[in-house]
Symmetry: none
Subunit: 207 residues, 4 copies
Amino acid sequence: MGKVAGVSSAPRPRGRPRSEKTRQAILAAADELFLEHGLDAVNMDEVAERAGASNSTIYRWWPSKHVLALDALVTAWEEATGLDRDRGSLRADLRALVRPWVKRVAARPYARMIAALVAEVHRDPAFGEIWRVDFVQERRRRGRAAFVRAIERGEIAASTDVELALDLLYGSLYHRLLHGHEPITERIGDRIVDAVLGGVTELARSA
Amino acid sequence: MGKVAGVSSAPRPRGRPRSEKTRQAILAAADELFLEHGLDAVNMDEVAERAGASNSTIYRWWPSKHVLALDALVTAWEEATGLDRDRGSLRADLRALVRPWVKRVAARPYARMIAALVAEVHRDPAFGEIWRVDFVQERRRRGRAAFVRAIERGEIAASTDVELALDLLYGSLYHRLLHGHEPITERIGDRIVDAVLGGVTELARSA
Amino acid sequence: MGKVAGVSSAPRPRGRPRSEKTRQAILAAADELFLEHGLDAVNMDEVAERAGASNSTIYRWWPSKHVLALDALVTAWEEATGLDRDRGSLRADLRALVRPWVKRVAARPYARMIAALVAEVHRDPAFGEIWRVDFVQERRRRGRAAFVRAIERGEIAASTDVELALDLLYGSLYHRLLHGHEPITERIGDRIVDAVLGGVTELARSA
Amino acid sequence: MGKVAGVSSAPRPRGRPRSEKTRQAILAAADELFLEHGLDAVNMDEVAERAGASNSTIYRWWPSKHVLALDALVTAWEEATGLDRDRGSLRADLRALVRPWVKRVAARPYARMIAALVAEVHRDPAFGEIWRVDFVQERRRRGRAAFVRAIERGEIAASTDVELALDLLYGSLYHRLLHGHEPITERIGDRIVDAVLGGVTELARSA
DNA sequence: GTGTAATCGAGACGGTACGTCGAGTCTTGTG
DNA sequence: CACAAGACTCGACGTACCGTCTCGATTACAC
């Protein structure tokens, strides 16, 4: 992945250094092609060609197609992530989290991408580890922070099971995304936040 | 898939009839092998061999590996599904729904199977349709019935968004299953039911 | 094949008798389809359909596709074979043999058919036997007769190696037909006859 | 096929060079297996395995089984072809041509191989072209040279139809080989040469 | 500058599953 | 029995693409 590596005090490796330009071109090509056509519909040579790189350069730095795809996804996702400031209430914080997610996911075929990666998670445990560290926990971290602030603020009980709350929140969203039984809209995002906060009761009131 | 029903007064088809024994042997072989080793780790010839059938007989009746896997999954799932009787309260009904699901899913590697199928859903829209009709809606139907009974009973507001409630419930469960960040236990099942019913508040109380 | 079978004094078999109409329809369908599109481009179901018969009826009477094709070829070839009368000279006799052959072979894609059957001859020795008995020897018989008459007539030496002469004659013709390096014309047929007659002298001397 | 020649100053192709060792191993495996068991009795994976190569490497360089078989045949045939020197008389030249051919063909089941290729010639015109260029014309070239020398030498008439003479010669040989009605022996080879020489006179006269 | 050591592009290679196709056999019910 | 219908077994085909490998060409730093 690369990010894992370089601490500042690298021992200055000998030989020709890795081309940063090529690295970014590969990630950009992967992001575009995989997202646009789907992971299975694009082969590595096409990514290489689009990036102006070669098959072997990709495999020198990424161990597999799926790891590359994940890296590309994470990279693109990070660039587009806004700040994480306190909105004053849990509801506002969660909405600020959910709304961009919904917008992003509704705009481009991320569902296909994520579904393919999730499948790989269960096919290759090593990839699963990378997935959880680089993607899942990274997403949950911000949601968790919002709940923690709410507890500190006295807005919700200190004993709240934050992890479960996150499952409720993200679970509902990913469920719609992956199972595809209903479309994902901004309005649904808000209502899910409400429901998580209030349960079934809220489901009636916010109808 | 076969379940197309078929009215009782079948027009008596000509020719050698399809072998019901072979059909079941194929479904059983698919269920066992795909579940045990994963969809990608098993090829069609292995399924055929285990079923004592031939490659082409499989392809004559199932258009692809994924459709076969889904049929096998649905068939096995149906056999094991208990009755759907009224337990008196929404909480009890939902628990009666969730507990067997959790037990089943914890016992065998269903996550891998479902992840692979979900990926295919997004790869092939036609398969997505089959998936939603044969699997998703079939599972949701029973949950929906529980909510409807609760409304009739006056237990929850008539205006409750049942679909969203189902997303909350199944979403949380599938989220844990697919993303694999936390294990799935019986206890978690109950707590998710509680949380769906009461939202974050309940998350504190039931902790 | 059929012709091999039935001696006249059949013991009158029980049950439904074989349909002669169907037999001929199958042979006709095989002749047309195989000759027109090639043995490999036509499958047995197509022959069956064209004949208004079924797959299994064909296989009840002909043991394989190639045997059927050969039977069809022989049948059609026989119908079209003229009489074998004495033309007065060996040259005239041979021309009377070669000309219709050339005409026939130039008019329709027999080369493809024969090439496929010859290949099968070497793939399956049992078929080779049928081929030689029903087709090769049958064709050579008439050529041989012409040479025998020439010998009786004193036109060529009695020591002439007739078999070799036949190889020279038919060999040249089949060579052009099968190897396809040069087209087959009526004129070529005559010249081959002339050349063979020139060589025959030598055939006697070197015996 | 490879024989495209290539001028000495090759522009030094980029990338990993084709493995000459593998190429030869594949040709050798094809030659042995196809000749030994017949083209249809051997599948490509068996050839690949015997060659220590992979299925896809074969298909990368040879478009079909038949083309591979032909290449293997031509390669093996070429290696075993002696020099083409003048023996002083047409008869001696032709015998020098025919005898090794007979010996070769009698020793191993070439008939089956050639019959299969000839069938393919008529099934696939593109293959027919390769066949004629790489095999047929190549074989005829040397026979033609012998006749040309005989003409220059004044041994036979200048008006002799050499092509027809070649058909007589090779036609008889191939006829015995392919139709299988009589065995092929050294003696027969010589007698065919004699017969052809006798016919050649006629070939000039009737021109 | 020159040497060393790594990267890069090009492309061949092994491995392996896919889904298709056809020959020939078997199993029904009908005539 | 013969026959039509059509399901079944067997097994090859040629395709696709992943990830590995082998080259020569290139690039940076160290000396």
